[in-house]
């Protein structure tokens, strides 16, 4: 038996959905790397290692993940016969970081409002 009152009531509006945090960026070291790369045009592996205080292996692995996600570009070259690996943030990386920060702020805003 249909309920004549509730049938005509407007459907309740869905609660404002909280944004998902990008799991590729959410990792602490990957987030630190993208934040660092957002301040420079390009950076060498050694500079990133000094700034993040990460080990070579961990740093290489996290940079590879960012590269696979299309967030950083890698250039390998030789300068005065010494190998040099340069990392650059891509437009997709910049966009992803911006969206991550916005999502973070939105989540924190909702957490504070609760």
């Amino acid at each position: 038996m249909p309920d004549p009152v509730t049938d005509f009531l407007p459907e309740p509006e869905p609660a404002t959905e909280l944004p998902e945090l990008n799991p590729v960026i959410h990792g602490k070291l990957r987030l630190a790397l993208l934040s660092l790369l957002s301040t420079v045009e390009e950076a060498e592996f050694t500079w990133l290692r000094i700034k993040t205080k990460a080990t070579d292996g961990n740093l290489g692995a996290q940079l590879l993940k960012l590269e696979e996600a299309g967030y950083v570009d890698v250039e390998k070259k030789f300068v005065l016969r010494k190998p040099q690996t340069l990392y650059r943030m891509t437009n997709a990386g910049r966009q992803a970081l911006t969206e991550y920060v916005q999502a973070l702020k939105q989540l924190l805003g909702s957490a504070i409002n609760v």
Binding site: L31, E42, K51, A111
Partner: protein, 198 residues
């Protein structure tokens, strides 16, 4: 409780982003030595041209100082990441070097090197390079260096030749040696502070 730890985690992430951006913007590049080096190079060139061989004094000293600057700057830039601001500053000083070299060489070869114009042109170019750098870097002390060079250029236009050379020597001392030493002291202080904070 879970919500509190989640909130703390999100705040940590936001703090991490801010800290890394601040870290990325911090530069360890030091340029005080370049000002002192060029100040000394000008003095050597002037002394050599007065008491030695006037024809080769300036070209040899300037090329020598350029080579030393190039080697030291390349070594330094290897440790620093590329930034737009760094490229802008490098662009200003590289173009100043080329301008001074072309101007100095051609005006002497062409035989039109009137000493007032020659000194005033060098001083005004150095003032422009320092002024542009100070505006890009938002760094007031460098604007004082620019003012020193601009004032020297203005005074040169009204001075006798011997007075012009004295003005040039004073401007080199204030704009290059004193300013370079000031930068070196400030850089040393900054390094000490960053070591203390580490």
């Amino acid at each position: 409780m879970i919500q509190q730890s989640r909130e703390q985690e999100l705040k940590d992430r936001l703090n991490l982003i801010e800290a890394m951006i601040a870290e990325g913007r911090q530069t360890t590049a030091s340029w005080g030595w370049a000002f002192v080096l060029w100040g000394i190079a000008y003095y050597v060139a002037i002394a050599w041209s007065i008491w030695g061989n006037a024809n080769i004094a300036w070209p040899v000293t300037m090329i020598g100082a350029s080579v030393i600057t190039g080697i030291l700057a390349t070594r330094q830039s290897k440790r620093e990441p590329g930034t737009t601001m760094g490229r802008a500053i490098a662009g200003v000083w590289i173009c100043l070097g080329i301008s001074l070299f072309v101007f100095g060489l051609c005006i002497n070869l062409g035989g039109h090197a009137e000493q007032h114009n020659f000194l005033a042109a060098i001083e005004i170019m150095l003032g422009a390079a320092n002024g542009i750098s100070s505006i890009i870097l938002k760094w007031k002390p460098q604007f004082l260096s620019a003012l020193t060079w601009w004032l020297a250029a203005a005074l040169t236009c009204f001075a006798t030749i011997s007075q012009s050379y004295i003005i040039f020597l004073i401007a080199i001392f204030l704009g290059q040696i004193v300013f370079g030493a000031y930068i070196m002291i400030a850089e040393a202080r900054e390094r000490k502070q960053s070591v203390a904070h580490a």
